[in-house]
Point group: C2
Chain length 356, copies 2
Amino acid sequence: MAVTLYDVARAAGVSIATVSRVVHGQDRVRAATRHRVREAIEALGYVPDAAAQSMARQRKEIIGLVAVESRDPDTDVEQDGLLFIEEVLRGVEQALRPIGWSVLISVLISGGADAYRQLQRISAKVDGLLICEGIVDSEHLALLAARVPVVLIAGPAAEPSADVVTADNHGGTVTLVRHLISRHGARRFHYLAGPAEAPDANARRRAFEQAVADCPGAVVTASFQGRFAAISGQRAVRAMLGQELPDVIVCGNDQMAIGAIRELQAAGIRVPLDVAVTGFDDIHLSALLTPTLTTVRQPMRQLGERGCACLLDRIADPGRPRVSVELPTELIVRTSCGCLLPSCFYRAAHWCQGIW
Amino acid sequence: MAVTLYDVARAAGVSIATVSRVVHGQDRVRAATRHRVREAIEALGYVPDAAAQSMARQRKEIIGLVAVESRDPDTDVEQDGLLFIEEVLRGVEQALRPIGWSVLISVLISGGADAYRQLQRISAKVDGLLICEGIVDSEHLALLAARVPVVLIAGPAAEPSADVVTADNHGGTVTLVRHLISRHGARRFHYLAGPAEAPDANARRRAFEQAVADCPGAVVTASFQGRFAAISGQRAVRAMLGQELPDVIVCGNDQMAIGAIRELQAAGIRVPLDVAVTGFDDIHLSALLTPTLTTVRQPMRQLGERGCACLLDRIADPGRPRVSVELPTELIVRTSCGCLLPSCFYRAAHWCQGIW
DNA sequence: CTGTTAGCGCCTTCAC
DNA sequence: GTGAAGGCGCTAACAG
């Protein structure tokens, strides 16, 4: 059906070995021959079949990028999941472009044994795996890693069978909390955590608790277990309505913060006047909301790029020592924490509330 | 290196054919044998190599999803490109999940001859190609389609060598313009078009012009050639500042509308009080902006799903007649056109302007 | 029921 | 310089 090496060879009157040589730019071919072969290739529109190449040279030139979406039964209609992956993908593509490799993308539904099966299937199609928000248990991970190199993005730094690239969740969170305390005099904190299985969610939560504990007078008034989705933010707010408002609701990621803000506004509570809200990640949306979101920027593009570079290194040398890198985060101060509000805002807020 | 069929066969004391049979769930194997083989597979952690399978059964079970980003030299720092693809990807995954196929994703930088080379390389790794915002000329497309089935998403409906799935750009635009005219009494229109090479951009533009022409008294005061990116919206607004404002700025997509709104707000012009702005696509962001964006919803998820289904059909039967489907669009009325504004808004707007 | 065997398309020594 | 031949891991007849 498709044009093969043999077709080209026949058309050019040479052997397949010769065609292969010119395809790969080897110089051990007489100029005239090479020319003839090139013409045949052009005329027939020959493109070497990737599967056959993979087979022969034991390399697919494809890396797998997979995100494990953690959902509970109620949130499976959720639409806003990929925002994280998107930036990571750009970083990965950037790292792959120079060498011409491709990326196989796939978002897994759950984190169960089924997820492992799917990962296994994917592993058969790629030279290496980049797993985001690594909600895969160590045991299964080890099994996977035995088949194919694995790099975790935003995963648990201590994973023994994979390299890991993360952001400085701890430092970012601590900086944020200190800002809230020193600049805004916040004392009463509400925390909205990400899924317990997500390592970065845990890192942030722990850092938050520690930072609050480190400040005399500051207290965690309540916390809510969310799943990194906007709906979690809405639920958390619904659950706390009626109670006394905290000074700030610190959220484990931007999506939940967005959900929280919407629900607060819907309830007629003014952000940041009545309660401040903060996020984590600095997704594209965060700068465009009303109010704009104060958050901690995680260099997602870079996470993808570094993670991919790391994976390529390991593919090239599977025996090299395990690597674990942590990229810096940055506090992004906007208005949802109460900063940057011109005085006219206070008047305007009264009128605006609940309009949009 | 990796575990192969032979390893399993040896371990289980059977032939590779038998192993292959149990792997594929054939029943013509004695229960005892099957059991033994299963154990060996489990013990060794065997997963069939995809490249070898592709080779043997002439099918890779991978489809390629590619977006061609059209950029001019000034916009290559742009960050907000993938928003379209993201939803499409979800649709594609949905269509592929039941059969276990994977998607190879890749966004091409330019639309030149270089893009064709890249597409060629990708075509060698997949069973079919899904091209979004098809900025590939017919000639190259025909060459590609000769190698591998191609489906265009949001591409030119008349492309002879590929199936096409689009949204009803014409109808959506006309409905929008009529709304602006009849509900808001708009007469002076400014148009912000997408890239001339993009078929959907053209369809929208033509529909817009026709709809305006159909209304006595309505005029297009000016138009601007953008590239579907937020920065285009900003530029367009800068270019029109100082001139008399139109009633509405109709934008070829949401991203440009967002850019336009931001620039207008920065210039102290109130949206929608001083000028209305509308978009097209209804990306996730649009409902969260201030003001929320009035736009035409394009069923992006469905475009991906239908496009993929169409591609699978063609892969199954390459000879079937060409197909071209058009999905319906829907006018989404929010506040940027001037609708849904409670009276208090007018007071509030005065104070709010330019704060965020 | 199970084993043998011939490819799938390409790369890569090894001879010539 | 160029060609012949083996093998990559698996599938799918075809024999038993």
